[in-house]
Each structure stands twice: as C-alpha cells, then as structure tokens.
C-alpha cells in the first residue's frame, strides 16, 4: 500500500508552496479513511474508541509518511485533513434533500435535532470562508474542533499553541461565529 502512495513530504511541500493540485492529490489519498470516519460520525459514534479522530489521522499519516514525523508537517497535515473533512460533511449535508435551504423557522418543526445540526453546519461552513480571510488561526481551530472533533489539548498541540491561548482563541472564534449566526436568524433551540 505504501509503495504506490505519493510521497507525503513532497506533497506537503508542494501544498505549502501554494499548489492547489497537490492539495487535491493529498485529499484523494486520505479521502477513503475520512469518508469512513465521517460515516461513523454521522451515526453519532463520535465516542467510539476504535475511531478517535487523532488516532485515525495519525494512522493515515503514519501509513503515508512512515515514522518520519516532523511536527510542522504533522500540524499542516491535520489542518488539511480537517478542511477535507469539512468538505466531506458539508457535501453530505447538501446532498440531503430535506435540508435544501428552506426558511429556518419552517425546518424546526419536523426534525428539530437533525435539521438543526445540518442547518448549523451549513451556516458555519458559509461563515468560515470570510473568517479565514480575517482570522486564519481561528478558522483552523474551528475546522479542527468542529469538523475533526479534536479535543482542546490535541488542537493546541497540533497548532503549537499553549493550551489556554488556544482556548481563548477558540472562545473568540465561537463568539465571532455565534454573533454572525444570530444576525442571520440562527437561534440556539436546544440547550
């Protein structure tokens, strides 16, 4: 398996240099793993011990890169995987017919929980693009936390930040998103 996989280090360096194609190649390499993970997540099995996100991404990384872990590459790898995961989940959400962008209030009645989450995910996805422009670090934090489901500790370590600093920026990021989401009519319907 490893022999026909592209060299991860090379890929990462190309991505670093702004090569969009390389990002696509990398995405294709990790996609099967991600889709499997995404399916588990969608079944609400986040806590499944066989599929902790860090384990999963680490395993994919090890498979691709061997044991030559460079901390910077690892962080970068995670960031890309998180973005890919975001894409995967949002595509899934869009594909669901019943989430076609209906007025928000009309949605709430039928399937409050599921629709709520879908709607929120799409909203966050929309808000993340402007956020990346203004606050790239916060955006990465949101992707790692929301779409990959990493813990605070994992996120801090991957981004090379002190834990409390990460938590502070995460709080800021959530508040930023919350205020914009509220402005667009989002309401936290469940506690």
């Amino acid at each position: 398996m490893k022999s026909d996989a592209p060299d991860l280090t090379v890929l990462l360096h190309r991505i670093n240099a702004g090569d969009k194609g390389a990002e696509g190649v990398l995405y294709e390499v990790v996609a099967p793993e991600l889709r499997k993970y995404a399916r588990y997540l969608m079944r609400g099995e986040r806590a499944d011990h066989t599929l902790q996100p860090t384990e999963l991404v680490n395993r994919a990384y090890v498979r691709l890169a061997g044991r030559k872990l460079s901390l910077r590459d690892r962080g970068h790898f995670f960031a890309i995987v998180a973005r890919a995961m975001r894409r995967e989940l949002i595509d899934y959400a869009r594909a669901r017919k019943d989430v076609a962008l209906v007025p928000l209030d009309a949605l709430a009645e039928e399937h409050p929980l599921a629709n709520d989450s879908m709607e929120l995910a799409l909203l966050i996805d929309e808000l993340l693009d402007p956020m990346r422009e203004m606050r790239p670090l916060e955006c990465s934090i949101v992707e790692l936390k929301c779409f990959l489901g990493l813990t605070d500790e994992e996120t801090a370590s991957i981004l090379g930040l002190p834990l409390r600093t990460m938590q502070l920026r995460w709080h800021d990021a959530r508040l930023w998103l919350f205020e914009r989401a509220e402005a667009q009519g989002w309401q936290a319907r469940k506690v």
Binding site: M42, G44, L89, M118, H171, F178, V191
Partner: protein, 816 residues
C-alpha cells in the same frame, strides 16, 4: 507570543473555566472573590463568562456528531422486562451505553449495558462467557436479557461507583507503591479470567474502574471482559487496516492474529507503563529513555513492564500469575530499606532529645513549613500555605502523631538555622518542607521532603508533577505527602480517618477561602464566604466547607461586620450541615461547639468540643475555645490543662500564649497572666494583642496609669478594635481623664466603628454610669454579643455584681 501574554491567557482562561464549572448561581460569588485585585482581568473574565452563558454551548460538540441522532436506548424510569427500572445514564462508550438500574426482583442496584448502534442491538452469545468470572477485581457480569418486542439485548452487571484509571491518570502518574498495588489487583483479576478461558481483548485504562472501599482502600475492577472480541473489534479486514485501541495492541494483532493471553499481557504492560508515566509507550525511543531515567528508582517494575511489552509474544511472561509474582516480589526495595534504616537510626537519636523535652508526649511530633512557591502565575499564593495546611490536616488525623499548629510552624524558615530553631523551640522531631514550581513545559512540580531538624538531613523526599492547568490536583499531592510522612513517622498508625471523598475543585476553593479567612480583614472574610459557598456549590457534600462557612459567619457576626441575628443562624445551619454530611469531622463538631457556646448552651458546647478533640486531638482552635468555655464557667484548673495542650501543639505561637493569659485573667491569676503576656511579647514584639491584654490586666488590678500607657501604645501601633477602645475609655476614666473617656465613648456610640455592646458596658462602668452599663449588657444578651460569655468572670464588671439586673443576666446565661 510573549511570556506575559501566555501567562495572561493562562490566568484568564483558568478563571473562566473555573467559573463556568460552577453552577450559575455560584459564579458571581466566585468572580468577585477571585480577582478583586485586578479589575481589568475581572472585567475580561466576566465578559467571557457572560458570552459563554449567552452562547449556551454553541459549537461545543463537534458538528459532525450532530448529524446523527445520539439515541439513548432507554430513558430514566423505563421498566425493562418488568424487572429493571432504569435510573440514569452512567456512561456512553464506544460499545454501548451504561445505565444505572434497580433490579426489582433481587432488590439491588445493577449496571445495565446495551449496545448502541442500530444494527447491533443483539448481543453475541460469547459475551455470556464473562458471567463465569467471579473475582473482586473483575466486574461481575450477571446475565443477558432480551426485550423481545424491541429486539434489544442488554447485559446486567455489578454496579461499581468510581472513576476509571484513565481519568485518574489524566491527573498525573501514580506513585510506585500505588501503581504496584493496582497492578497486583488488575493482574489477579486478569489471571482469574484467563483460568476461566476468557480473554479480555481490550484491556486499557478506560476499562479499569477504581472504587473506594469502606475501609478507604482502592479496589481496581476490570470491566468489559470479552466485549471487544464479541463485537469483532479486532477482526482483521485483509488490508493493513486494524481497528482497536492501537496503543494497547500487541504487534501480532496488527498482523492479523487473534487476541490471546499473550496479547492481554502486552496490554497489561502498556497499563504498567501508563500508571507510572501517565502516558503510553508510543515510540520505542521514549521507552528506552525512560529506562535510563528511572533505572535507579524502579528498576524491577520497568523490567517487568519491558518483558510484558516484548514484540515477540513468546518472549513475554507465560501467564499473568508470573507477571504478578514478578512485581510483588520486587518494588523499590533498596530505597525502602535505606529509609527504614534512617528512620530507625533517627528515632534512637531523637529519642533522648524528645524525652528530655516532652516527657509526657512520647509521640513523634512534626512541623510543616509553608511551601516555597516559584515561577507560578499570580493568584496562586494560597498554594504556599494551602498545601502546608492540607499536609498538616491529613497528618493530624494519624493517631499518635502530634502536628504543631500553623502559627508555630509557620514561624520558622527552611534554613539550617530555622531548622535548628524548630528542633530547639518546638521540640519537633521531624519537619516537612516543600516547594511548588512551574517547569518550562508548563507542568507544575511539587516536591516535598521529610527532614530531621537536628542535623538537617533528609529522611524522605518525593516529587510530584501535575498539569499546569490542573492545580486542584495539588490537594491530592498534599495528601500523598502526608500519607508518606505519616506512615514513616508512625508505623503503628492505622492511617488517617477516612472522610467522604471530596471533589478536588471544591477543595481548591476551600483552600482559597481558608487563605482569605486567615488574612483577618473584614473584606477577606467576606471573600472567604464567597469561596466556601462556591466550594459547596461544586460539592454540597463537602463537610469541611460547611464547617468553615460556619466559622466565618461566626467571625463576621462577632466582629460586627454582619448582623449577628442574621449571621448566627446561618453559622448554626452550616455547622449542622457539616455534621449531617460527615459525623466524623472534628472541625464540624468544633464549629457546632462554637455555635452552641455563642448561644450560651454550655453543656451542648462542651460535649461538641469533646467530640471534636477525641476525633482530632491536634485541633488547636478547639482546644483554645474549649479552654475559654471552661474558664468562663469558672473551671480554672480544667481550662489551664486545656491551654497546656495548646501550648504543646503551638509552643511559640501567639494565640497559645494569649489564650493562656486569658485563662489566667479569667481565673484572676493576674501575675501569671502578666508573665504569660511578657513571654508573648518576646514572641512578637510588634503585635498589639499582648499589649492590649497587658493593659486589661493593669486596668483590672487598679494600675490605671500603666493601663492607659499600654493602651496608648497598642492603639498607636494601629490595628485595634472598638472593644479595645472601650476598655481604654474605662481605664482613662478611672485614671481621671474623664473628658477624654467620654469623648471616646461618644465616638464609639455614634461612629461607624463596630464595638461589642459588652465592651461598651465596661466603658460606662468606668464613667460611673452603671445604668447605661446594665442597659448595654441587656442589649448584648438580645443581640447576641458572644463576648457576653465573660459576664461572670470579667473583673471590669465587679462594680455591677450586686445589681439585680446583673444577677438576672447571669441566671439567664445559666452561668454556674
């Protein structure tokens, strides 16, 4: 990123986290108590707490998981198969959901586990194999039940209260002795399962429950036997892809082999490693490095671990019994022998010293110094005394160990001169000294040593490490230190009395509260109330926090800061709650005794003091308050003997000397009182209290000029209360300075300063206005003013003794 900003974020976010962990109602008290010294920070913390409250958990659970409905199969209240009543969800794990339930047939509490994913609601029959294992270290599996019409299986199991080993290890590694004890238990359970032909298949820290037994020991219980196997977690898929918990998986499992005794032993090795490192052996070099690092300390443990972790299954132990035998035989034996030898040698050496000093107290006595604090973010000053207090409190519960009071111990420093002074002045045979320091990687190291103060040699030492953002855990470290020291000083000891387990966060809040209470300012005492209430909001079953709340309310009422009619019922309620939660808490009985004494219930108070002191003979405050009770009820000799006990525990502390003087004063042994006060003044020449008492003695014996002089100097040093000014007015009036005395009384009557009514009565006696004096005393009874307890013994009231109103009051107070 500057160090400053890292520190700022650290402080800010840990306060935010702390506040948010409290119930909403307790947050305000916590916020105003914890960062008053820094309004900018306070505003920032408040802003974040508010926005967090507004966001109501917005985005806190990963978006992805919201896509699926996390279905809880059963709801609280459901009655399953007309037998099991579901109480609550206990845990949701990978394999399934665990509920607490009540078995109506057998009338006992059980745990129920049912698989969670929709297409696996039937349990594979192999799960039933685990029912064959009956061992204290294995969670008992009872039966598989099926709800026929819903096609759901569930498993009934022994209900075990406690946390998992994984949760424990998140707070740092275990000391070797504890790790060994747990390893033996886990090994015993695993060996029994293997004898029954059951492989665990997914042994890991999350599957080990730690439960506290009646006698206070910890029992390790392995759960989820065979579940992983039954669910096919390890089934190789033909590709290089394996599912499982990789860190615990033996190398052969990655190659597609089935779980076996050997792979369980590998997982056991990972657990052993994890217990002493709080981390898993992820990479081989980490393992190698640790070998050298720990070579001297736990060579045997590490070699057993290494053998379990052999890549080749054949190179591991043949069975778990052999693993258990290997660790049981070993331990840190060489180190332990050195320790025993030095303690034994020390004991003889100190023996003579000890007998000479305290012939009546042939028990080891120990002084605990405040911990040094280095490189910690601001706001952690309380740790210095907080840790020392915690060590003292735990040590004090060892029968047969005498712990010097904080006022005596904290008098000294950890220098060789300081140590010699401790040996000479206290007669302590051992000193505990420690240090808290932040390391470069953000962890906090707490080191402690047991020192022989006669020659400054170290008898025992240990270092503990906790996460920098996990300071509440320091309390646990303090307990471990005390346990180590306690058992070393007193091998006969049965260990401290066990109290109900307290949430660590609540304990940290308590320590912060105690620190504030001891700052002795009205503001700090009010802050202390905030902390104690916050601690109780976290853990309403925290008896000591109830007791502290009672004490603080009493202090605030007695000091006139709170209206006694509001505050004293609160104090009483808090003391009652303390005892309701933990009837074995000495501090709870002492708090209740104080409350009853304030209500003039002498008999009730005396019984409570005795209860408190039998539970903890080292409780200095209780000895002092009991001495006061004895002396105001006219039992001078008994009071004196109680004060002697204070002196033994607190030889150089000011409170001991002052209370001795006060007992002599109440017993009209004025020259003995003066001698005692003379001594107190050499202990702390700048303290106003000994001067104030000296003035009282002069005034009571008619030496008004000298009294006025002493009062003036005490007042000049600042820090005297309205009570002192009132007695000063008495002496002034008696010495002829009537106008000045009247002026003071005028100020006290109209000014904002609090003055106890009983003291004001004394001033009126000095001014020769007995009617005014009687009126104040009668008000003091109604208010009530705790100082009125001195009514019968106080020499300043002698002028009133023939008045019927006075006699009526004495009768009402039931003073003998």
């Amino acid at each position: 990123m500057t160090a400053d900003s890292v520190e700022h974020d650290e402080r800010l976010m840990s306060l935010v986290e702390h506040a948010l962990a409290l119930p909403v109602a307790a947050r305000e008290a916590f916020l105003s108590a914890s960062c008053l010294d820094d309004p900018t920070l306070e505003a920032e913390v408040r802003r974040r707490v508010r926005s967090e409250e507004r966001m109501k958990g917005f985005l806190l659970s990963p978006l992805a998981s919201l896509f699926g409905e996390s279905e809880s199969v059963f709801q609280p209240g459901d009655l399953l198969n007309e037998r099991f009543q579901v109480v609550r969800v206990v845990a949701e794990g990978g394999m399934g959901i665990v509920y607490e339930a009540w078995d109506q047939t057998l009338e006992k509490r059980v745990a129920i586990k049912c698989p969670r994913s929709e297409f696996r609601w039937r349990l594979p029959p192999e799960v039933g194999n685990a029912t064959a294992i009956a061992h204290p270290n294995v969670c008992r599996v009872f039966e598989i039940h099926t709800i026929v019409d819903r096609d759901i299986d569930f498993l009934t199991m022994e209900f075990i209260e406690g946390s998992t080993l994984a949760e424990r290890l998140r707070r740092g590694p275990l000391p070797l002795s504890e790790a060994k004890a747990l390893a033996q238990q886990i090994g015993a359970g695993l060996a029994e399962a293997h004898r029954r032909g059951v492989i665990h298949g997914d042994l890991k820290a999350k599957n080990i429950l730690l439960t506290r037994e009646q006698n206070g020991t910890v029992r390790a219980v392995i759960t989820d036997f065979g579940l992983a196997l039954a669910f096919g977690v390890h089934q190789p898929t033909g590709k290089s892809e394996v599912a499982g918990t990789p860190d615990y998986m033996a190398p052969e499992l990655f190659a597609g082999k089935s779980p076996s005794v050997a792979s369980d032993i590998y997982a056991l090795g990972v657990l052993f490693f994890e217990m002493v490192h709080a981390d898993r052996p992820r990479e081989s070099e980490a393992l190698d490095e640790s070998w050298t690092r720990w070579l001297t300390r736990r060579r045997r443990w590490d070699s057993v671990t290494a053998k379990c972790l052999s890549r080749d299954p054949a190179a591991r132990y043949a069975n778990v019994d052999n693993v258990v035998a290997a660790i049981t035989w070993s331990g840190a034996r060489p180190l332990l022998m050195v320790l025993i030898a030095s303690v034994a040698a020390g004991a003889t050496l100190w023996g003579t010293e000890l007998v000479r000093r305290h012939a009546d107290l042939a028990v080891p006595s120990v002084a605990v110094l405040p911990f040094g604090v280095e490189g910690m973010p601001p706001g952690n000053e309380y740790l210095s005394e907080g840790l020392a207090d915690e060590v003292m409190d735990t040590l004090a519960q060892f029968p047969g160990i005498r712990v010097f009071a904080r006022t005596s111990s904290f008098h000294f420093s950890n220098t060789s001169d300081g140590l010699r002074a401790i040996a000479r002045q206290l007669g302590a045979v051992a000193v505990v000294s420690g240090q808290v320091r932040r390391t470069d990687n953000g962890r906090v190291r707490i080191s402690a040593a047991l020192i022989n103060p006669f020659n400054a040699t170290q008898l025992w030492g240990a270092e503990y490490s906790v996460e920098g953002d996990d300071l509440p855990r320091t309390e646990e470290v303090a307990r471990q230190i005390a346990d180590q020291v306690g058992t070393r000083l007193n091998s006969r000891s049965a260990g401290p009395i066990q109290h109900p387990h307290v949430k660590t966060q609540a304990l940290e809040l308590l320590l912060r509260g105690q620190y504030q209470r001891r700052l002795y300012t009205p503001e700090s005492r009010q802050k202390a109330i905030g902390f104690f209430e916050a601690a109780l909001a976290v853990d309403p079953q925290f008896a000591l926090a109830h007791a502290e709340l009672a004490n603080t309310y009493r202090l605030l009422a007695g000091g006139g800061i709170l209206n006694p009619q509001d505050a004293m019922p609160k104090a009483e309620a808090a003391a009652r709650r303390a005892l309701a939660v933990d009837a074995n808490l000495a501090e709870g009985h002492a708090a209740m005794a104080d409350v009853l004494k304030d209500k003039w219930d002498w008999k009730g108070a005396e019984a409570e003091y005795r209860a408190a002191l039998s539970l903890n003979p080292n409780l200095v405050d209780a000895h002092m308050q009991y001495a006061i009770l004895l002396s105001v009820t006219g039992r001078y000799e008994a009071a004196l003997s109680e004060v002697q006990k204070v002196r033994a525990l607190d030889p150089v502390g000011l409170p001991g000397a002052i209370h001795a003087a006060s007992v002599h004063y109440n017993g009209r042994r004025f020259s003995a009182a003066l001698q005692e006060l003379q001594r107190a003044r050499t202990l702390d020449p700048s303290a106003p209290t000994p001067r104030m008492w000296t003035a009282m003695v002069f005034s009571a014996t008619g030496r008004f000029g000298e009294a006025v002089n002493e009062y003036r100097q005490a007042i000049a040093s600042g820090d005297v209360t309205g009570a002192t000014r009132a007695f000063y007015a008495y002496a002034l009036a008696k010495s002829g300075a009537r106008a000045e005395a009247q002026q003071i009384v005028q100020q006290l009557e109209t000014g904002g300063e609090f003055v106890p009514l009983t003291a004001l009565a004394a001033a009126y006696i000095g001014l020769d206005q007995p009617d005014e004096a009687i009126a104040r005393l009668q008000q003091a009874y109604v208010k009530p003013d705790p100082i009125l307890q001195y009514l019968k013994v106080e020499a300043h009231f002698d002028a009133l003794r023939d008045r019927p109103e006075y006699l009526a009051l004495v009768k009402k107070l039931q003073l003998p």
